[in-house]
Amino acid sequence: MTEKDHKSNLYSSISLGQLTELRKAITGLDSEDLQRLSRLIQDPELFSIEISQLLPLSIKKMFERGEVDEEQLRKFVEQVLHQSVKSDPGVMATILFPIMMPAIRKAVAEDIKRMVESLNTSLDHGFSPKRIGWRMQALFSGRKYAEILLSNAYVFKVSQVFLIHRTTGLLLNQVQETEIKDARDADLVSSMLSAIKDFVQDSFQRDAEENLDSIKVGNFNIWIEQGPYAIIAAIVEGNVPGSLRLILKEAIEAIHVNFSYELEHFQGDTEPFVLKDRFLRACLLNEKKEVKGKKPVIILILVALLLGVLSFWTYTRVETKLRFNRMLDELDATKGVAVTGTEKKDGVYSITGLYDPLVGNLNNVVKLHGFDLHDVKLNLEPMISLDYDLVLLRARRVLMPPETIDLSLKRDTLIAEGDADNEWLKRATSLVLHLPGIYFFDITKVNEEKIQQTPARQLVKKRILAIENYYFVFKINEVKLDSLQKIDFDILINEAKSVLNFRFDQDSVPVIEVFSHTSRTGHIDANKNAARLRAEKFVDLMLHAGLPIETLVPKVIFVEDEKVPFPVRSVSFKVKYVNPAAL
C-alpha cells in the first residue's frame, strides 16, 4: 500500500463534523469566519475596502512607534509629486490652480503696493530743481514721472566686482562703490555664488563650453566672466550695455596675464590680488544719460508761455499802479480834497482823507481812471474847505443871489456887485457871516435903485433849485447830522421855510419830497426798508426844525433808476406844487 492510499483511507474514515471540529481547534475560526476570509481573498475590491479601514490606523500607529520618519515620508511625497509633474504638469497645475491664483494675485497686489509706496517716497523726497524740472516734463509730455526719472538717472552702474578663484570658489579680491555701507560678507557671497554657478552648470549644462554668464536678481544683474583659473562677477544695476561684457573679458584676461603663477599655484593666500586691484576697479563703471543739446519743443513753449504770463502780469500790475497814482494825483490836486493815506489789502485800494461835499461825487473820478468802485474804496471824511473857489461856491449856494448880482471873493471879503432888492440884501447880510472863510461882506457896489423890478417868483425858483441841490449822506442804519451837515441843514430849513411860505397861485401848495436813495445791490427788500426808515427819520428832523408835517413827503428811490444818481444812503429833496385837496 502506498502512502497516498493510506491517507485516502484515513480521510474517508473521519466524518465531516469531526473535520470541522478539528479545523476549529487548530485555527480557532469557525466555518463562517473562514468563508468570510475566503471571500475577501477572492474579491480584490472587497479586500481593498477592508484594508482601507485599517490603513490610516496602521500608519498612525507606525508614526507613534517611530517606524515612519516624517522626513522620509516628505521625501517620498516630494518624489511622487516630482514624477507627477514630470509626466503631466497639467494635472498638478489643475490641482494647484485654486490655491495658486489667489496667492499670485496677492503677491502681485503686494508688489504693486510696494512699488507705489516706493514711488511715493521718491516723489515726496524729490523736490530738487532738477526733479521739479522732470516733473514738469512729465506733466507736459504725458509720460510717467517714474519713466522720466529712470531715463534721467543711471543707464547702468557696476556697484561691486568680485574676483573668485574658479576651483575653490574662494574670494581673491573684491572692489565696490564707497557708498555701499552694508555689503554682505564678501567671502560668503563669493562662495555661494560659486556654488550656485556649479549647481546651474551641473543641472542644466548641455555642452562643456556652456557657462553661467549672468544671473538676474530683481533690479540687479550679476554678470560672470570666466577665465581658466578665476572668474569675475560684477553686480550691475540698470540696463547693462553689451560693451560691459568686453570690459569684463579684458579684465579677466589681464588678471590671468598678471597673476598667472599666483592663480595656478593658489593655496589660499589672497594678498597678491588685494594689493593690485586696478583691473577690478576698471570694471566699476557707470553711465548716465547724456544731456541732449536739443531742447524739447514742449519745454520751449512752456518757458515762452510762462514768460508771457509773467510779462503780462508784471505789465498789468505796473499799469494799474501808474493809473492809481495818476488818480491819486488828480484827487489830491482837487480843491476841497485832502488825501491822507492809501493802502492796498486783498487787491483792493483804500484811500483815506478829507473832502468838502461841495466838490461833488468823487466816485466819478475813480471811474474816469478805469477803476471799479469795488477795487478802489474812498474812505473820506467830510470837511469844510477854505479854498477860494469853494468858499465862493458855498456863498452862492447859500445866498442865492439874483442874476443881477455878481459875487466875488477877495481874501476874506465877499464882494457883491449889481442890482438887488432890499429883501435879498437883508437876508444875505444876515447869512453871510455864518459862512466859513468869509469875515467881511462888501455891498458898496450893490445898486438898490432897481429892486422893485426883481420878481419874487424868480427868487423862489432859485431857492427851490438850491433846496434840490442839497443832499446828506449817512452811515448804515444811522441818521445823524455831523457838525458840517448841521450847518447845511440849518440853511436848508431856512430855504424850505421861505419856499413853503410862497404860493405861485391859489390852486397849488408847495410840498417837499424827501428822497432816500438806496441800491438794488444785495437784498432789495432790506435795502428798501432801511431807506424808508432813513427818509422818515430825516422828515422827523425837519419837523423838529419847524416845518409843517403836511408839507413833507418821505420817499424811497433806487439809484439804478436815476438819470443822475445821488450817492447810496443819501437823502435829497424835490419841491413840488400840488393841489391842496391831494394833501
Binding site: 516630494e78 556654488a195 589672497t270
Partner: protein
Amino acid sequence: MIKKKICMLGAFAVGKTSLVQRFVNSIFSGKYQTTIGVKIDQKMVSLGETDVNLLLWDIHGEDDFQKVKATYVMGASGYFIVIDGTRSETYQVGLELEKLAKNAAPQAKCVILINKSDLIRDWEITHGQIAKLISDGFKVIQTSAKDNLAVETAFTELTRMMIK
C-alpha cells in the same frame, strides 16, 4: 590671510549641519541645502601666527533621493566625513563619499568624525570599524554636536593638517 575651502560630507541626518552650527555663525538660511544642495558658512581659525579663514561648504546629506555633487567638493583643501555612530549604514555611505571626495580633490586632507558620542551606548558602529579606519590612515575623532564635544578640536585639527 589664508583662505581655505572645506566640505562637510556624510549620509543624511548624521549631524553635519549641527556640527557646523556649533562652530560658526551663519548668514545664509538652511533652505539652500534643500534647493541647491549646499550652504556656506565662514569661520576664522587662528593657529599660532596664522589666521585661516575657513569657508565651510555644508553639503546636503547623501541619501536615495539626492546625490552629492562632486563639483561642490572640487577645490577643497580639506573635508570632514561625518558618520552617525548610532546608524551603521552611515559608515558605508561615509566611505563612499570619501572616495568621491578623494577623486574630486586629491590633495585635500580628510578627518572622519563619528558623531553623536552623547549616545555612545546606542552606537551601532563598532570599535573594530573605527580601528579599521585608523589603520587605513584616517584621522578619526568622536564628536557630539549636541554636547559640543570635540567639535572645535576637529576643525582645528583639520585646519592644522591643511596648512602643514
